[in-house]
C-alpha cells in the first residue's frame, strides 16, 4: 500500500554541480596536511592515499570491503578506504596509520602491539591499529569477548588475534591513564 503526499523537504532546485568523470582537483586533508590531488571521482580514498599522497601504510588486501587492511578514520570514525570515494572526503579530516604516532613517540596502541607481538608479516597491522584505537574510543574494549567481536572486521592471516586482544587491553588502560593525566 502506498500513499501520495507532496514533497515538502528541500529547497535547492538547481541541479547539483557535476564533477568528472575526468580528473578534478580534490582537496584531501590527511593527518593534518591538505593534499590537492588531480584525481577522477572514481578513485577510492585508499588509492588516493597510496598513490596520490604516498601514504602507503593503508593496504589493499581485497578492494571489496572484506578484509579491513585499508581501515582509516574519517572524522575519527573507522571506515574502509577501499569502499570510500576520495572525493566524498573533501571537507573531512582523514587520519591514517601514519598519523597515529606523535612524532617519534609511538601511540600506546602501537607500542602495545609491539610488546604483545600482535603481528607477524605486518600487512594487516595498520588497519588493525586504526581499528583498535577507534574501538577503544567507541568503548568496545571492555573485555576479550567484546574485543573479539568488534575487531572481527580486520582479518589477520598470520592469526595473531589472541595477541592483538592482549595488546588492545593493555593499550586501553594506557589510553585511559593518558586521558586522566590530560584531564587533571
Amino acid at each position: 500500500m502506498t500513499t501520495q503526499k507532496p514533497v515538502t523537504r528541500g529547497t535547492d532546485t538547481d541541479p547539483p554541480l557535476l564533477r568528472g568523470p575526468g580528473p578534478v582537483t580534490v582537496a584531501l586533508k590527511v593527518n593534518g596536511t591538505t593534499h590537492h590531488l588531480d584525481i577522477e571521482p572514481r578513485v577510492s580514498l585508499l588509492s588516493a592515499l597510496r598513490d596520490g599522497c604516498d601514504l602507503t601504510g593503508s593496504k589493499r588486501g581485497c578492494d571489496q570491503g572484506t578484509c579491513g587492511a585499508c581501515t582509516v578514520w574519517v572524522e575519527g570514525r573507522r571506515v574502509l578506504g577501499c569502499l570510500t570515494l576520495a572525493i566524498t572526503c573533501e571537507g573531512h579530516e582523514v587520519t591514517t596509520v601514519e598519523g597515529l604516532a606523535d612524532g617519534d613517540a609511538l601511540h600506546p596502541m602501537q607500542q602495545r602491539f609491539i610488546d604483545a607481538d600482535a603481528f607477524q608479516c605486518g600487512y594487516c597491522t595498520p588497519g588493525q591499529l586504526m581499528s583498535a584505537v577507534a574501538l577503544v574510543r567507541e568503548g568496545r574494549a571492555s573485555d576479550e569477548a567484546e574485543i573479539k567481536e568488534w575487531m572481527s572486521g580486520n582479518l589477520c592471516r598470520c592469526a595473531a588475534y589472541p595477541h592483538i586482544r592482549t595488546a588492545i587491553l593493555a593499550a586501553r588502560d594506557d589510553m585511559a591513564a593518558h586521558d586522566r593525566e590530560h584531564d587533571a
Partner: protein, 742 residues
C-alpha cells in the same frame, strides 16, 4: 647456555610495521610509475579464437595491452622445482600468453598497463575475447576413473609409490582393522598482501621489488624465463605481507611485470587482485585419502596403508606430500603409501602452509582416533604404544625427538584426564576433547647458504643475507644469532636482508629458513670473530698480543683472555688502532652431502577443547594447546607466535576454509575473502603454545628445526577428534560444517 639466542626480544621491525613506514612490494614509489592489471580467462578449457584490444586501448590513460598476440615469447621454461633447491623455481611449467590455448579458468590472458590503478583495472575488463570452449575437468569426481600413479612427484623428489613389508597380508591378518576415507576441500593461501611486483629497467638492468619467500628464487626464475643474465637482475624484497606458500614458488606475474616494464619503458606495478589470488599462485589441491590401519588387540600397529587421490594440472605432476610423515610417525612394519593423480583444468597445485602434513595427518590421525575407540584405548595411550623410537623407514636414529614429552606437557595443560569421563554438557553445548600427533620433516637446503657479517670501527655490526621477511621475524632472530657469535649486545647488530645484491640463499620454505639462514649467519659471525681475535693476538698494540687465540673469548662486548677477563679490548679499539673502518667475513654453510646418519623430523602434539551446539551443529573451538619440540628456538616470542598462527590455521582448515569449484564453469566459485572464509578474531580461542626443549646436533649448526609449519600439522585431526568426543560423530571431510552435525 646462550645469552642472546632464544631470548624473547620484540621484533626489530616493530616500528616500521606499526607506523606504516614499512614498504611492501606494491608500496614502492617510483617516478613515472604505471599500473598493470591482469585479465583472466572466463573459460577453463579450450582456446581463444579472437582478441579485441581496441576498447581497452581506447580507454583513457591506457598505455599498453599485452595478450598472446603481442607478448614476447619466453626464452626457456625451467622445470618445476622447490625453491629450497636454490635455482629457478616456477610454480608450473606453463607460461601464459604464449599461445591461444586455455588450460585453466582465470589463466592470464591479458595485461593492461595504464597511468593510474583505476584506469588499468577498468581497461583490463574491456579487452574482449572470443573463446572456443571445451568441457573442463576440475574435481576429483571427474578424474576418478582416469588416474595414474606417477613415478615421482614434487619436482621428482617424492616417489608415487612407497612401501615396506607386505601391507595387504598384514591388513588381512590384523586382529583389529579400520578403513576410512576422507575428503578435503581445496584451499587457497590468501596472504593478506596479494602477490605484487614493481618492475623497472635501468640501463639494461632489471630491478624487481617482489613479494617472495626468496629474492634469489625470483631472480633465478625471471632470468631463465626472460633469458636475461642473472647478474643483470636485482630483486629487492624488504617486507612481504604473508605468503604461506603463495610466494614460495615464482609465479607468472613477476615475469609479466618485467615484460610489461620493458614494453612500456616505464616502471610498472603489478598487484594481483584478491580474486586473482585464486588463479595465479597455485592452491592446496582437493584430495581424497583412504587409510587402512591394522593393529593387534594391544593397539600395536601392524599395517598402515594410506592412499591419496588428487587432481593436478595439465602440465605438471604435483600433489602436496601428504604421506611422508605418516610413513615415519609410528612404529609399524607394514606400510604402503600411494599417490594417484588425475589431470584437470586447474593450475598446478602448490605449497600451502604445512604442505601435505596438514592434510595427511588429518586422515591418519583421525583414523588412529577411531582405532583407539574400537580398541577401547585412550587415544594418547595408543600413540604412546606405537611410538617410533627410531625411524621406521630408514631404521636410523632420530636427530632429536621429544614427542613423548610433548604428549605429556600438552595433556597436562589441556587437562586430558577429563576426557575419560566423556563429553560435558554446558547449556546447549556439548564439550569434548581431542588430540593428535604433530610431525613435520626437518629438511634442509642442498647447496651452500651464504651470509656476510661486518663489524664497524664504532663497534656496531651488520649481518647480511638475501632472506625475505614475510612474518617470520627473521631480522630479529638473525641479529640475535650474529650478536651471540660476536659477543656484542643485540642492539648493536642489525640484520640486512631482502636483496639479491647480498649473499645468496635458497628460499625460506618448508620451515627451513631459520635453520639454514642461522647456519650461514652463525658461520660468518664466528669466522669474523676468529679473524678479529687472530688480528688482535698478532697486533703488538693489543693487550691480547701474543696470546693463544684458543684462550681468547668474548665478554661484555670485548675480546678477553678466558682466564683473565680484565685483559682484552673491544673490536672497535682494535680496528681504530689499525685505521680499519671495518672488518668483514663471508661464509657458507654447506649442508652435509651423502647419506644422512640420522632421520630428521620435528615433533609435537595437539590438544583441542571443542564445543558443539547439540541442536544447531555449530562448532566452537574453546581452547587449543600445542606442545612442540622444534630444536633450538632463536627467539621464543616470535617462534611461539608462528606456532600459534599455525595452530589457528589448522582451526581454519578444520572448520572454515574451502575453495569451491563450479565444475560446470571450471571456475572457483568463491574467490573472495567474503566467501572463502578464513578465521576472524572472534573465531580465535585461547591458544597455549608449549616449547619442549630438545638438543639437535645434526640438522644444522645451531640445531634449529623450524616452527613455520608444525603448528598446523595435526590440528584439524585434534579438532575433529574433539567433535567426535563431544557428539559421537566422526566427520570425515574438511572443513567440518554445520550440515555435518545436524
Amino acid at each position: 647456555m646462550s645469552a642472546v639466542i632464544g631470548q624473547p626480544l620484540p621484533r626489530i621491525d616493530g616500528r616500521p610495521k606499526t607506523t606504516g613506514a614499512a614498504r611492501y612490494s606494491a608500496d614502492i614509489p617510483l617516478p613515472g610509475l604505471t599500473y598493470a592489471v591482469l585479465a583472466g580467462s572466463r573459460i577453463a578449457a579450450g582456446r581463444i579464437t579472437r582478441v579485441n584490444a581496441a576498447p581497452a586501448l581506447a580507454a583513457t590513460g591506457v598505455i599498453a595491452v599485452l595478450t598472446h598476440e603481442n607478448l614476447p615469447r619466453i626464452a626457456a621454461q625451467p622445470p618445476v622445482l622447490p625453491s629450497l633447491l636454490g635455482g629457478p623455481s616456477p610454480g608450473e611449467t606453463f607460461f601464459p600468453m604464449q599461445d591461444a590455448t586455455i588450460h585453466y579458468g582465470g589463466q592470464h590472458v591479458a595485461l593492461v598497463v595504464a597511468d593510474t590503478y583505476e584506469r588499468a583495472l577498468h581497461a583490463a575488463g574491456l579487452v574482449e575475447f572470443t573463446y572456443e570452449e571445451e568441457p573442463a575437468v576440475t574435481v576429483i569426481d571427474q578424474i576418478r576413473d582416469r588416474t595414474e600413479v606417477p613415478d615421482s612427484l614434487f619436482g621428482g623428489f617424492v616417489p608415487g609409490h612407497s612401501s615396506r613389508g607386505d601391507v595387504e597380508a598384514a591388513l588381512d591378518r590384523a586382529e583389529v582393522r579400520v578403513d576410512a576415507t576422507y575428503h578435503l576441500a581445496a584451499n587457497h593461501q590468501n596472504p593478506l598482501e596479494t602477490s605484487a611486483t614493481t618492475a623497472h629497467w635501468e640501463g639494461g638492468r632489471l630491478f624487481l621489488h617482489d613479494a617472495t619467500q626468496g629474492p634469489n628464487a625470483t631472480q633465478h626464475t625471471v632470468a631463465a624465463l626472460l633469458g636475461v643474465p642473472h647478474a643483470d637482475i636485482r630483486v629487492i624484497s624488504h617486507y612481504v605481507g604473508g605468503s604461506f606458500g603463495a610466494k614460495a614458488s615464482i609465479w607468472h606475474h613477476s615475469t609479466l611485470a618485467a615484460m610489461a616494464a620493458r614494453h612500456v619503458g616505464r616502471p610498472v606495478r603489478l598487484a594481483l587482485t584478491r580474486e586473482q589470488m585464486f588463479t595465479s599462485c597455485g592452491h592446496r589441491e582437493e584430495q581424497e585419502h583412504s587409510v587402512s590401519l591394522g593393529a593387534d588387540r594391544q593397539g600395536r600397529l601392524t599395517a598402515l596403508r594410506h592412499h591419496k587421490l588428487s587432481p593436478t594440472s595439465q602440465h605438471d605432476d604435483w600433489a602436496e606430500t601428504s604421506l611422508e610423515v605418516g610413513a615415519q610417525l609410528y612404529a609399524c612394519d607394514a606400510y604402503e603409501g600411494v599417490y594417484r593423480l588425475g589431470r584437470a583444468h586447474t593450475m598446478t597445485p602448490t605449497f600451502m602452509r604445512c604442505p601435505g602434513e596438514a592434510s595427511g595427518l588429518f586422515a591418519l590421525e583421525s583414523t588412529l582416533d577411531q582405532l583407539a575407540g574400537e580398541l577401547g584405548l585412550d587415544p594418547l595411550e595408543l600413540r604412546l604404544r606405537n611410538h617410533a623410537d627410531t625411524d621406521p623407514v630408514t631404521e636410523k636414529p632420530w636427530s632429536s625427538k621429544g614427542l613423548k614429552e610433548c604428549y605429556r606437557r600438552g595433556a597436562e595443560l589441556i587437562g586430558w584426564h577429563r576426557r575419560a569421563a566423556g563429553p560435558v554438557a554446558d547449556g546447549d553445548w556439548l564439550v569434548g576433547l581431542g588430540m593428535a600427533s604433530a610431525a613435520y620433516p626437518a629438511a634442509g637446503p642442498v647447496n651452500p647458504q651464504r651470509a656476510r657479517v661486518r663489524v664497524y670501527a664504532d663497534g656496531s655490526a651488520v649481518a647480511q643475507a638475501a632472506a625475505s621477511e614475510f612474518g617470520t621475524g627473521v631480522g630479529t632472530a638473525m641479529a640475535q644469532v650474529a650478536a651471540e657469535a660476536l659477543g656484542l649486545p643485540v642492539e648493536r647488530v642489525r640484520f640486512e636482508a631482502g636483496d639479491t645484491d647480498l649473499p645468496n640463499l635458497a628460499s625460506a620454505v618448508g620451515s627451513t629458513g631459520a635453520g639454514m639462514i642461522s647456519a650461514a649467519v652463525h658461520r660468518a659471525a664466528v669466522a669474523l670473530r676468529d679473524q678479529l681475535i687472530a688480528q688482535a693476538v698478532a697486533d703488538p698494540g693489543s693487550p691480547l698480543h701474543g696470546a693463544d687465540p684458543g684462550r681468547v673469548g668474548l665478554s661484555g662486548g670485548r675480546m678477553v683472555l678466558r682466564d683473565r677477563r680484565d685483559t682484552g679490548e673491544s673490536y672497535a679499539e682494535l680496528l681504530l688502532r689499525a685505521h680499519q673502518p671495518d672488518a668483514e667475513a663471508t661464509r657458507s654453510w654447506a649442508p652435509p652431502q651423502g647419506e644422512p646418519t640420522h632421520a630428521m623430523m620435528t615433533f609435537g602434539a595437539h590438544f583441542a577443547e571443542v564445543a558443539v551446539d547439540r541442536d544447531l551443529g555449530l562448532v566452537r573451538v574453546r581452547r587449543l594447546v600445542g606442545a612442540f619440540a622444534p630444536g633450538r628456538v632463536l627467539n621464543a616470542r616470535t617462534a611461539k607466535s608462528q606456532l600459534m598462527g599455525g595452530m589457528l590455521w589448522g582451526m581454519g582448515q578444520a572448520l572454515l576454509e574451502q575453495s569451491v569449484m563450479d565444475r560446470r564453469a571450471g571456475r572457483w566459485a568463491n574467490p573472495s575473502l567474503g566467501d572463502y572464509l578464513v578465521p576472524v578474531n572472534a573465531d580465535a580461542p585461547q591458544v597455549d603454545v608449549e616449547l619442549v626443549e630438545v638438543t639437535d646436533d645434526v640438522v644444522n649448526p645451531l640445531g634449529v628445526k623450524g616452527v613455520g609449519e608444525i603448528g598446523q600439522a595435526g590440528t584439524a585431526a585434534a579438532i575433529a577428534a574433539a567433535v567426535h568426543h563431544a557428539t559421537g560423530r566422526r566427520v570425515r571431510n574438511l572443513p567440518i560444517v554445520v550440515e555435518d552435525l545436524l
